[in-house]
Symmetry: C3
Subunit: 285 residues, 3 copies
């Protein structure tokens, strides 16, 4: 389904081509998202005005729509950008942050899904469930944890209902197009303690989509690479003489950007860790 | 009035319960505020649209309203959120950034104070004075320094006029409910050279309010813990082999987030430093 | 044209006077811009509402208008601030981010240039060219590279057409008022891999304008000091024991803020590097 060589190739192509990724994302994480894309080798643009979002999306190689801080004006920008991206064949990623927590978010997501097509939906399991109207508990913008079986079931159902690849993240990540499914096991618990690590992932998936035509492989590759960066960040910090044993959240956010910058040195090979539903144990490749 | 054990208990409860804190704050510091709350163990949500702010505030355990980058639309979100928070019994913190510097800010604050109740007002001494129409010089968003006597007088007057606990920050911080008053002496000068350290404090106070029913004790505990984090940040940086004697503002902002993350290890006990008005000397506990 | 002593003097005056710099800038870089100004010793304020931008600009010693994330409401704030700044004699800097990439941006820039006067225009070469309707290829918000001859020609033409000092940045930076021209050669390639380093420069130029009456010398001094900070950031990072040879983009952004904070220790003297058009080689002073 996915192999190390093709993930390496995607990363190399992103660095070589520096694809322009148009992000309409929440104001909390715009800076971190732009820096993360630059660290990875891509080129961010953050236009979120209805007057220009359609024109900008057409110039891009990938589009991210993230509803974290939604406004009436932003919704109109999202609609214009999605329409343009669909017309121009630009792959689009939706991150339905906090969908289900307020009516405003739920309606905005429903409207976007009616208006156009997304190539990948990226959210935690609760957000993915809420996107298709299947209820799971949700607290603010962070979901709780569910069993792997439920996560896989929700992700597959969403993928089929929405005709998109779904990347449902959590302690383990599920990537599925409704037929093929893998469980990505790379990552680090601190990734959920830094604002924007989840949101940046949507932009990273868009960058992978810009260089890989199969959206399932692009999303799987992005999530494996991303989880590995999360592990590399911890390793770097634990080498700092002054930090002792503690790896803390402030420094971790910066080390994570550094890890994305360092991803090109063949780091994928030794570390990739995934499995498939039904397998009892994970395996390293 | 306040004791070490209860501050420790508040911090532990925040980490255990991860209270959702709804922040309507300025776009300059949204990222830093979200990261600071996560470092402390709380859970941030940053919704600032009038269409959903009321619904979101009801889900939260604490609300922060910060007027740093005010817009007409944000004011409407603030009003909806404040009304909801008051109805639902969610404690609300106001940070009147730069009030008095423009008519727009002054009117917005007056209107909010008419519309609803705040549990705590957090600002520098000039902002606190301007909130009650008492003039002190103010330059942009940073206040100057005044004597302790004036700071205490302004804070007490504001607390009585507004029926709220006032936390007036500066080289020393004054916390008062109009009757009880303490001067918090923890902190570090670099805290004022990193954008958002003042603004994040409002969110941290909201997190403390969510776990402590006495707002004076919650605010005092928050300011002591926060000042201690500021001291810990300097200590960590001065241990770095490459930095020599210099502790600089960029690294300090990150080290401050790390210090909030490290606050749980009993750091309060050895370091807490406060006094009361009228005492000539401070004392350590 | 410019000398080390006067750059040192500008930096010292900024630190002594802490000039208030009013920034109407994009939401991606507001935090980094505010922190950069604080690190340098200036005092940022980020008001971008039409209701107060005019009033705020009058209180400031310098104004930055950056169109990176343009909205209809922000344009109205920019217009009010520019008018006020012009009336009050406050120097104004324009950063026309991505002008030429969408009609919305191009029209906004044209309208601002009709409405008022800018003291300095700061952009990459492609943006400077697009500001005067001279076409060069532009991809998103980053320009490509052109020869020094073209860069100088474009910058001079723009300076004359707009009656402003132009700072056209790239691998080398061109600063010109149409008559005097220098090529600043300080800097580091990583500066273009951290979001906001270009945008912060506009704010730094505004701070230098607040303490130096000759805008050409202020802009040249700002760019030399800024490039030197970029070099200092790399040096600090390469001393870290855990980093080995790698200097990576996440840590670089923080080290850059630290370098601005450390700029006062006479660092300019040993490092300043510029030349003039027509010279074949650069020279150190």
């Amino acid at each position: 389904m996915i192999d190390i060589e093709s993930i390496d190739r995607m990363i190399k192509r992103i660095r070589a081509e520096s694809p322009l990724i148009h992000c309409i994302t929440n104001t909390v994480v715009q800076n971190f998202t732009a820096n993360g894309l630059l660290s990875l080798g891509a080129s961010p643009v953050m236009s979120d005005a209805p007057e220009e979002a359609g024109e900008m999306a057409r110039l891009a190689k990938g589009l991210l729509i993230n509803i974290g801080t939604l406004h009436d004006e932003t919704i109109r920008a999202m609609e214009a950008a999605l329409r343009s991206a669909n017309e121009a064949g630009v792959p689009a990623v939706l991150d339905p942050v906090g969908v289900g927590s307020t009516t405003f978010r739920t309606k905005a997501v429903q409207r976007l899904l009616t208006l156009g097509r997304f190539t990948v939906i990226r959210g935690n399991v609760a957000e993915v469930a809420n996107t298709i109207g299947r209820s799971l508990p949700i607290k603010g913008v962070d979901g709780g944890t569910v069993s792997r079986d439920i996560a896989v079931d929700v992700a597959r159902q969403a993928a089929r209902a929405l005709g998109a690849v779904v990347a449902a993240t959590g302690p383990e990540d599920v990537v599925t197009d409704g037929e093929r499914t893998i469980i990505v096991q790379n990552g680090d618990p601190l990734m959920s303690r830094v604002t924007g690590v989840g949101c940046l992932l949507g932009a990273v998936v868009a960058a992978f989509l810009s260089v890989e035509g199969d959206p399932f492989r692009a999303a799987a590759g992005a999530l494996i690479a991303y989880g590995i960066a999360g592990e590399m960040a911890r390793e770097t910090l634990s080498q700092r003489p002054e930090s002792g044993a503690a790896v803390l959240s402030g420094a971790y956010g910066i080390a994570f950007l550094d890890a994305l910058d360092a991803l090109h040195d063949g780091a994928i090979d030794r570390r990739a860790r995934w499995t498939v539903p039904g397998e009892m144990t994970s395996f390293n490749i």
